[in-house]
């Protein structure tokens, strides 16, 4: 049953949302089904609940987080559910008539049902986390509802403000709930409610309390977070009637009631909640007097009443809780009807401004009567429900025990609030229904459709009935509610209209007298209608939010200023810090205890000098780009010689070849780039960069030095031992590349091939303008072209040799592939791209693909033998006449490498060589 209850609104919300072509009526009927069926379910539960039983249903959802989908209905939850569904039903009815033809009922009812579901879930959640989940859902769905008229600036702003404030509260609440869960060890509501002492004794209690209260105060629009509520009045009136009287804002006080056994009962709780409640009570009531907008007045009045309820829960005595709960019900009744009445007036008059309204009792007598009844209930006039709870409030204020000063302050606050309450209620009644007739309206006001009036009527009648015979009407329900809230501690109480002539009654009388006096006094003294009160809170909020946006914008732009140099600079700094951190203990400790170093011959030092001179030379000439490329060629050569000198011929070969292709690419690029770098004027930057470069380079040198002189303990000896017998190769570097670490090479050729594709993709459709066009036809280099004729087949032969022998001598697929590509490059340079491509006719892209597939194939072969990918096989093929032909499966893989490298290199070169030129004329266009 509980499951059905919670599923109902969401399922129907979906139904409404998806009923694209449904009539307005269908949407409303679908929406109306929720409260209708829901109330039926509640009725079915009523028996058990009124007997004090707690209904439960629980499903495991995220046990790891302690978040179960558990539902729990006790008296408090049941009553709130009744409120949510009851008033919800009336609002659906009212809303159906309220919405204009332009408004989409589908959207409206979807949002409304979502909200209803969230609210319902919140009140019947049996797990604190689940409660927090639904709590946030109410924030989100109310955001949508407040912003329903999204074309209006105030609606958008109001919605965002509400979401920001209540969203913040929701997050705080989540934190508070988590803290409670930490203290108690469970989020189960039964457990939490039973662990009040444990919670209050915990050192985390103040934090938990603060966070939970933050959630509560924001939601219930308590001072200083109250300001969002008046701005939420941009919502359509049915929404205000629902959210801001009975449900959304009541979520806060509901939680205050719900967690009362767990959190209340400390001085901290008393002082904080009471004073916030009292402040809100007064601030709300005072500002309500000065509103010109009907809904604005009601909003501030709501704030004030919420303050009152909060104050009551802050007092924490059992009777105060009773009074608080009672007032929740009463306020919901009269405020919902008042909002609806305000909506009717707005609907029929086209304005809610009290300065233009007046004397409406002549035009809409029925509505006027109902509204006046409800406002009198709001004012706390006897024989109406508002009076009863206000009397209880006065009584409790006077009976605060143990806090002397507080008692006086609260009593005075109560009296003042009573006075203000009379004053704004009076204003509502007087300025709208009495006095001089409406001014400058576009329409003649008249009664609304009957069905729009009925919800108001129902609620107004409730006010009267409860106000006259409370014990019979509301008594049992209130008792159940109190029982659900306080559990076994629930007090006995009696509800009656007449308590005798006591101090609270005197206060009521006094507030009535002074309130009337205040209203008319203010009318006389001040020009009421000219007073424009500005919401300080709103301004503060706006200033802050705007400041936040501006700050964020400026700060982000300042930090992420789009400078690559900054990114790189920071990276180097971080690198220096992270790698340098261990050196803080002293560079010398790093260098202490190192082994002996090897001597270096004069030739070695010469090489060293060559390398360093060329490197520094590159830096010095870097602005002249051609020169820099030539000099960096010397660096490459020097590095290769270092590799040769230090026993790495394969490296030298690769380095040389790659260097050459790189230079060729850069030369090609240089045709489309400026010949020189512009001078940067930032000398300071340059100095800073030099400093950083010196530090980083020096640090790296120290690390390298220390590393080389530390004892080595490598697995490579095993590679050397196993290379020949198990991988059938003598060149252990090549064996490593195609066998031990073949997967690296596999990835490497993928990188290579993809790089070529990227180059192709970037330049294929692009048109570039050369930096300088040298006039004349393409240069003819007949002698050079002719002499290279012989070089090409020879280089090819070398390539094949390097490829076949690579497993045993320096060489291998990669090197061979490049050796194949380089003479073709020469052909490109000497004969021109068009001539080469006209005859050469390779599809380099397919070459890359085929090479990659070959490489995969070379590895997959071992699967036939049930061995892992890339396990090398070996076969000595006995051929007639020719003799033994040793074949290793790695050869297939290496062929893939060969093909990819050749095709990739040539794809790059030919793409760059055949860039389409853009003429200056095209540029101008």
């Amino acid at each position: 049953m509980l499951e059905l209850l919670i599923a109902l609104p969401f399922v129907l919300a979906l139904a409404v949302a998806l009923s694209a072509n449904a009539s307005r009526r269908t949407s409303a009927v679908l929406a109306g089904l929720v409260p209708l069926i829901g109330l039926g379910l509640l009725a079915a539960m009523a028996g058990d609940v009124f007997d004090g039983e707690i209904l439960r249903a629980s499903y495991s959802w995220i046990p790891e987080a302690g978040l179960d989908f558990s539902l729990r209905v006790d008296g408090l939850a049941w009553t709130f559910a009744l409120l949510v569904l009851g008033i919800g039903g009336l609002v659906v009815l009212y809303g159906h008539y309220y919405l204009s033809a332009k408004d989409s009922p589908r959207r409206f009812f979807t949002y409304l049902l979502l909200f209803m579901g969230a609210m319902l879930g919140m009140v019947i959640a049996g797990n604190l986390l689940l409660l927090a989940v639904f709590w946030e859902l109410t924030s989100i769905s109310s955001f949508l509802l407040i912003g329903f008229w999204s074309h209006r600036q105030d609606a958008r702003q109001g919605a965002r403000m509400a979401l920001t404030i209540t969203g913040m509260g929701g997050l705080a609440l989540l934190g508070g709930v988590l803290l409670i869960g930490r203290i108690v060890g469970s989020y189960d509501l039964d457990v939490v409610l039973a662990s009040g002492d444990l919670i209050r004794a915990s050192h985390l209690y103040p934090w938990a309390l603060a966070l939970v209260l933050l959630g509560i105060f924001t939601k219930s629009a308590q001072f200083p977070f109250h300001f969002w509520l008046p701005h939420a009045m941009a919502a359509p009136t049915p929404v205000s009637a629902y959210l801001h009287s009975a449900t959304m804002v009541k979520a806060g006080v509901f939680l205050l009631a719900r967690l009362h056994p767990a959190l209340a009962g400390t001085d901290l709780f008393f002082y904080v909640v009471t004073s916030v409640g009292a402040t809100t009570l007064l601030v709300g009531a005072w500002f309500a007097i000065f509103q010109h907008d009907l809904k604005g007045l009601l909003a501030y009045s709501t704030i004030s009443h919420l303050g009152l309820i909060t104050l009551l829960f802050g007092l924490s005595t059992e009777m105060a809780v009773v009074a608080g709960l009672f007032h929740i019900l009463n306020h919901a009744t009269f405020k919902a009807s008042l909002f609806m009445a305000a909506g009717i007036i707005d609907h029929e008059c086209g304005t809610r401004d009290m300065r233009r309204l007046g004397n409406l009792r002549r035009y809409m007598p029925m509505t006027s009567v109902l509204a006046i009844v409800a406002s009198l209930a709001m004012a706390g006039i006897p024989l109406l429900n508002g009076f009863l709870s206000k009397e209880m409030f006065f009584a409790e204020a006077l009976e605060i025990g143990g806090h002397g000063t507080m008692r006086i302050i609260i009593s005075i606050a109560a009296l003042l609030a009573g006075i203000f309450g009379i004053a704004y209620s009076l204003r509502f009644v007087h300025d709208t229904f009495f006095g001089n007739g409406p001014r400058a309206l576009d329409v003649v006001p008249h009664e609304p459709p009957r069905w729009m009036r009925i919800p108001v009527g129902v609620l107004a009648i409730l006010c009267v009935v409860v106000g006259m015979v409370p014990a019979l009407t509301i008594g049992p329900m209130l008792r159940t509610m109190v029982g659900g809230t306080l559990g076994p501690a629930a007090p006995e109480f009696s509800l009656s209209v007449w308590h005798g002539l006591n101090l609270p009654l005197m206060m009521s009388v006094a507030s009535l007298v002074f309130g009337v006096a205040l209203y008319f006094g203010l009318r006389r003294l001040l020009d009421f209608h000219a007073v424009i009160t500005r919401s300080i809170g709103r301004n503060v909020f706006h200033v802050n939010v705007e400041a936040l946006f501006a700050l964020a914008r400026r700060f982000t732009a300042r930090v992420a200023n789009g400078s690559l140099q900054r990114s790189l600079f920071l990276m180097i700094v971080v690198g220096v810090v992270l790698a340098g951190a261990p050196m803080l203990g002293g560079t010398w400790s790093l260098l202490a205890g190192l082994g002996p170093s090897q001597p270096l011959s004069a030739v070695g030092w010469g090489l060293w000098a060559l390398l360093l001179a060329a490197t520094i030379g590159t830096v010095l000439v870097h602005r002249k780009r051609l020169t820099a490329l030539i000099v960096i060629g010397a660096v490459g050569l020097a590095v290769s010689l270092v590799f040769v000198y230090l026993s790495a011929p394969d490296l030298a070969l690769t380095q040389l070849l790659v260097e050459m292709v790189t230079i060729a690419l850069m030369m090609m690029a240089l045709n489309y780039l400026p010949k020189e770098s512009k001078v940067s004027r930032r000398r300071l930057h340059k100095l800073r960069d030099v400093g950083l470069a010196v530090v980083a380079g020096g640090g790296l040198a120290v690390l390298a030095y220390a590393m080389m002189l530390s004892p080595a303990d490598t697995i490579s000896s095993e590679l050397l031992v196993r290379a020949l017998p198990e991988a059938y190769g003598r060149n252990v570097v090549n064996v490593t590349l195609v066998d031990f670490r073949g997967f690296d090479t596999f990835g490497e050729i993928a990188v290579f091939g993809v790089a070529a594709l990227v180059v192709h993709a970037l330049l294929r459709w692009a048109r570039l303008r050369p930096d300088e066009v040298i006039p004349g036809p393409p240069a003819q280099l007949p002698i050079a072209a002719d002499l290279t004729q012989l070089l090409f087949p020879l280089a090819l032969t070398v390539s094949i040799y390097l490829f076949l022998r690579g497993h045993n001598a320096p060489g291998g697929g990669f090197i061979a592939g490049l050796v194949f590509a380089v003479p073709v490059l020469v052909k490109y340079v000497l004969q021109g791209a068009r001539a080469v491509e006209a005859t050469f006719g390779f599809d380099y892209i397919r070459g890359i693909a085929i090479g990659l597939l070959l490489a995969v194939l070379g590895g997959v072969g071992s699967w036939w033998f049930g061995l892992p990918y890339m396990t090398s096989g070996h076969l000595d093929l006995e051929l007639p006449l020719i003799g033994m032909l040793p074949l290793a499966s790695a050869l297939v893989f290496d062929t893939g490498v060969y093909v990819v490298v050749f095709a990739g290199t040539l794809l790059m070169l030919s793409t760059m060589g055949t860039v389409k030129h853009r003429q200056a004329r095209e540029e101008a266009r």
Partner: protein
Amino acid sequence: MIDIAIVAGMHLVGLAMVLALWRLLRGPTAPDRILALDTLYISAIAQLILFGMLLDTEVYFEAALIIAMLGFVGTVVLSKYVIRRDIVE
């Protein structure tokens, strides 16, 4: 005696490389630098062969061959750039 000759030769060739480096850094024109780089490559071959003789190994043959090839390619590419700026027309 041969070993001494080899080592001495390495020093001489090294000296040649230093001279080429000087021209490389000094310029003044691009062809000068290209020439210097070409010379560096050729001297490097000599150096490599001498080194192979010193260690009595032929493992540096491939490297020498490739250097010979690439010195040429580099010169072709760089010269073509100076002549036309567009090295592949």
